[in-house]
């Protein structure tokens, strides 16, 4: 296994946040509505991990270091883990495990529908994230995993539809997402390695 320490650090960071939030909630540090806050933080955490995951390929192109690509899968799985926890928090704290109501929400609320679609996409990526699936799917694997761009769009839309009066926070996440997408436009991604080399020479 290459870069075991880097993998371990990411693992620790990923697991530390939910544990820390749980501790805060248990100590009554999250205010009177901790369930809602947990759910919001887990959702934002997932979006953050998604943006970090999508940052790996451009970073690799820019720096030429292969470590970025090595941790990409783990980062992606953290997105999935946070979303699972985000959904559990929603079911438990917001819906109060009212399954009948869940059926209503899934039919009536656009942001819930969009979020659920994003989850289904992530599920497909998580399930096929192993070597075995990569071998079996062959060239189709890459195509399937381009779904991550759609998931980013769905996630941002889901987030946008929750905003009530101030777009600042959303605009920051969306802005980073747009930059990461632009870096994938062939014309841009082709020049990235050159820009990186020039930078390194200058240093």
């Amino acid at each position: 296994m290459r870069y075991p320490w880097l993998r371990l650090v990411i693992f620790i960071v990923g697991s530390l946040f939910p544990v820390w939030w749980l501790y805060e909630a248990a100590m009554n540090l999250l205010g009177p509505d901790p369930g809602k806050i947990m759910m919001d933080r887990l959702g934002l955490g997932a979006l953050t991990f998604l943006l970090v995951t999508l940052g790996m390929t451009p970073l690799q192109k820019l720096t030429g270091w292969s470590g970025w690509i090595v941790v990409r899968r783990q980062l992606g799985l953290w997105v999935f883990a946070y979303i699972v926890l985000h959904i559990l928090a929603y079911l438990f704290f917001i819906l109060g495990l009212d399954w009948g109501q869940l059926a209503v929400e899934l039919r009536k609320r656009p942001y819930i529908i969009v979020g659920a679609l994003g989850f289904v996409g992530l599920l497909a990526l998580a399930v096929t994230s192993n070597r075995y699936s990569q071998r079996r799917l062959g060239a189709r694997w890459k195509k399937l995993h381009r779904l991550v761009y759609v998931i980013l769009g769905l996630g941002l839309l889901h987030f946008l539809w929750i905003v009530r009066s101030d777009l600042r926070e959303w605009a920051i996440y969306a802005g980073i997402g747009v930059v990461l997408m632009v870096l994938r436009v062939p014309a841009v991604s082709r020049v990235l390695p050159r820009v990186g080399r020039r930078q390194r020479r200058a240093v």
Partner: protein, 337 residues
Amino acid sequence: MLIKLPRSSECKAPEITPEGIYLSRRTLLGGSLAGLALGALPGMARAAEASRYADVEAGKAPGWFNEKLAATQWQAVTVKGEAVTPFKDATHYNNFYEFGPDKGDPAANGGSLKTEPWSVVVDGEVGKPGRYALEDFVKPYQLEERIYRLRCVEAWSMVIPWLGFPLAQVLKQVEPTSRARYVRFETLKDPEHMPGQRSGFALIDWPYREGLRLDEAMHPLAILAVGMYGRELPNQNGAPLRLVVPWKYGFKSIKSIVRISLVAEQPGTTWEGLAPDEYGFYANVNPTVDHPRWSQARERRLPSGLFSPNVRETQMFNGYADEVASLYTGLDLRKNY
């Protein structure tokens, strides 16, 4: 001390306790808390009124407020069998977008608001328009303590002991003309002291505006509040003067009021202007009419612990149906949400 026990220890599984038992537990807890508060009374002479409730942060009340406090009619309206929300929660979990979009922002940023001196403009269809200094504005009225449920449109709720006086008394004083059909309220616009109003990403067109039909405004449950928990209003809760209309969603209860106008036409209100399909002019608490983005059938009564979520059924008109339902006979509440 009681309140600091982790709530998670109260309940091992998310099982539903019969309502009767649940309510009596609350009463018990409330009773013992009140006992604690009373026990603490002798030691604090000046903070005596504030310590009617546990852990109330002392404020710096203006002179006129302290004078009025002495003649307050305590517990003029109460809520039966429901515990008052802890002061810390009611003052650190707020929607007051003038101070930022997050629940903690109003408490963190509210300190910059200058509430003294403060004046209120009364204009429009009234016999006695004018600009009043706040202390003159409130002078004629006796303070009453009104313990009301507060139901936010976001599906959480609290129980808050307000100090105020019926809006009807004010309206009678200013003599509405026969053309007056609605009351329009306006919050302070002061970007220098209200950071939320400086945000380039805010969707709200400041100042914040709200309105009531005249008969709603004249209803004895509708009050103008100047205090809560036995003290003056903290800035994050709408100091120095706010509306409280307990049978409507919280956003109707406009904060930090600088202008009250009587008007002939239904006034445009902030949230209705922002998203008319989500927030209506009436905004009566109604479990059968959903907000398009979430259900209104139930609410989280705060504090709602992580492992003992305090979720309850929302009541029609927030439990004030007996008092206010007659205001809306013949009105389709589905259309006029």
